[in-house]
Amino acid sequence: MEHPVLFLPMLLKKLGLPVVLSADEAHTFLQKLLLPHVIYAWLLMLVFILIGWKVGKKIEVVPAKGQNFFETVLGGIEDFMIGIVGEEGRFIFPLIATLGIFILCSNYMGMIPGFYAPTSNLNTTLACAIIVVVYSELVGIRFHGIKYIKHFTGPVLWLAPLMFPIEVIGHLARVMSLSIRLFGNIFGEELVLAILFFLAGMYLAPLPMMVLGLFTGFIQAFIFCVLSMMYFAGAIEEAH
């Protein structure tokens, strides 16, 4: 399978930057910095920062179009989050909302021809998963102090030597499960689209799979956020 045609790396290559399209050929640090998934993640960051800055410049009491849309979306996410995490978990809302919107938009960017989804690369999803898991452990330590160990020891005291390794492995497995679930869904979707395009592109065969891809893109972003909220809720609440 040859390299796909990606617009932004092509543009940057015309500007003279050392851009390679696959990780095997990237040797210098600048080449690794300009891989497609990094470039498109930066594009998303730029789009979000611009939109946030522009909409947040003038906030009125009676909201206009742009502010109304974002208030609805973010208010919906926040109410849903408070339902799962509880009132004390309000401070994690920026992380959850940013992750959710970032993952949603990068999943949908994979459907646009000429663009590449950053989440179809294991590095991006692993970064998101590591941030969530490490932050949830730190939140647990901040809320409970040294008593956070009680979350790992299980219900009864004499079961602790058995439960402790199992719980630690379970918490470490959260990183793998979060990252590989998202990566597998988006990369698998892209692989199926590429194969269908190669097999029967003239007959518009990839189109039903693209509709499925829109659906699973939304579901995967939603699931990532819901699972992150549940991990935070588990860290904040009292141990059983």
Binding site: S177, F183, G184, F187, L191, Q220, V226
Partner: protein, 125 residues
Amino acid sequence: MLRRTGLLTVLFSLGFTALAFAAEEAGASVTVTGLKFFSWSALAAALAITFAATGCGIGQGLAVKGSVEGVARNPEASGKITVTMLIGLAMIESLTIYALVVALILIYANPVSKLIQGFIGLAGH
């Protein structure tokens, strides 16, 4: 009788493929013997997805069955039931995705393949 026929068919086809892999035993060069690694990898990848998709189909079918019965009993709760069902479906599907990732690793990013290529004399790039 019908059920056993299906099982016997599957077993026979697998047996035939194993025979095909072992067919070049007599006078086989190192290259041919080493290349069997890739044949077995392809079979392993296909079997991984087969069993994973079967289990996923059954599991997700049970999840949808439970949620549809819940909505039928109590149509007002359909919003919450749908959200819970989608969360459960994504959890079940993620197990199949793990199997898919293993299959993709076997086909595309097999860590042993360079070693095998070195053994059988093909220039590994």
